[in-house]
Amino acid sequence: MQTDSLIITLLQKRDEQALQMIRSQYGALCFQIAYRMTGSREDAEECVSDLLLDVWNTIPPHCPDSLRAYLTAIVGKIAIKKYEYSHRLKRGGTQFDVALDELAEILPSSDMRVEQEIEQRELTAVLTAWLRTLPAKQQRIFMQRYYLSDSVQEIAEENQMGISAVKMMLMRLRKKLKDYLRKEGLL
């Protein structure tokens, strides 16, 4: 997309105009994804702000082929972290969370962090391979539900299917994924 190239060029020139363009071009989409994941308007707005900072910090050096995919992936990750954090705060007082945090402190953080990243990449590779085994329609429905967090009703409308059919397909896909992860030794 021409606008994407322009945005990336402006980012490479360290021109803050790029951030305004991202906000106007992709702000609503990213907000929507973040909102669906966090369930909070405030958190979603923070996610979009964090996203802009992340983009500013990573482009350059990174130069994504698809800016839209790049932005939605990052905002999704930020939203996951935000969700985890706010839910931890809400659960805050429970001894379980305190105990978890205490245990986390004694673990060698570096070993954990980098290894986690490597494991996460292995999981991504397996997940990608599994998605590629699916027919296009199933890929799309799975991504709509678990990437965009679309509701079952919306997925049904967009794919001209019944709600129960979508639910059934998602259930089968989850089971397929579980079997695949088990076969790959990740479960």
């Binding site: 996203l51 050096p61 082929d65 790049y70 980098v114 990243e117 999981l123 992860l181």
Partner: protein, 320 residues
Amino acid sequence: MNAFDLMNALRDVPEDLIGICLDDIQTENAKPIMNDTANHATPIVTSQNLSAEPTKQSGAHSPVFAGIAVAACLIFAVGFFVFLFQSSHDDLSVQNEREDSMILEITTASGTRLPEAVKTTEKHTTVSYTDTTGTSTEAVNAAETDLIVYSITTESDATLSILSTTDTITQEIRTELTTLTTTAESTAITTTKVVVPHKIMSMTLEEVEHEGEIRDGPVMFGSYERRIAQLKGLLAEDAKRISVDEVRQMLNSGMCFDEVLKAIYEQYPYPDYIGGSGLTLIEYWLDDSGNDYILVAVESESIDHIIHNDDGSDIYDAIT
């Protein structure tokens, strides 16, 4: 592994798979999320009101306002493209100037080969060079001196130009154009490079841990792993650092990104910094200053050598 890991992994799948679910979405007017709003009293913003108050938007329905808005948009668009054209034209001029000045191109005084045509500023106490009569040492100044140096293009007949120096870091830069002709290769030119340690090097364990959490504000959440490991006694103070050449060798040997990541981790299990809000960024500093480092962006599978200059600018050299 838990559901969060799966959700995160899904954010890292290739762009074509992500595109499958995004293709039908008009990004400028992302679909309203009415279904979800039923459970929330707060109205959902769209691209139109993300950055503006709703009350200001209501006026846009007026035909007069709409006309003015359209005219303003047109003027802005024309102005913006003129600005872009001017910028690119200016850049070309700067580029041309740079190319002209490359007659005097030299290596960095430290002997480190930088990408060609890259200008950088380094701090040195002395500059040693080899001229036609042998090796000489030019004591530029007993105090720290800023050198503005350019990369070298030829190794056989190099010309070293000290384009400007300062007596101290704080003193305003005065120009002392001193041209020294050398016949030696860039590696014959050596200096003592002054590395100003990063502030975390003089902090306590608690301070370093806190510093990692607030780096770049509250967004970049991470930790200074290497320093923390040193302060905990898990790693020697003078533990070897990774070099750019090592990473290049790994990549040249045919290893893919994942294999390089693993290999680096096995040899250097404590990166200087690991963190990020959405993406995972791992920094391996090349010295204690933290201004010269290898940046691994895990999700985008990129490895870059970055030099952070005193003026706040960065020089990027893609390794991958």
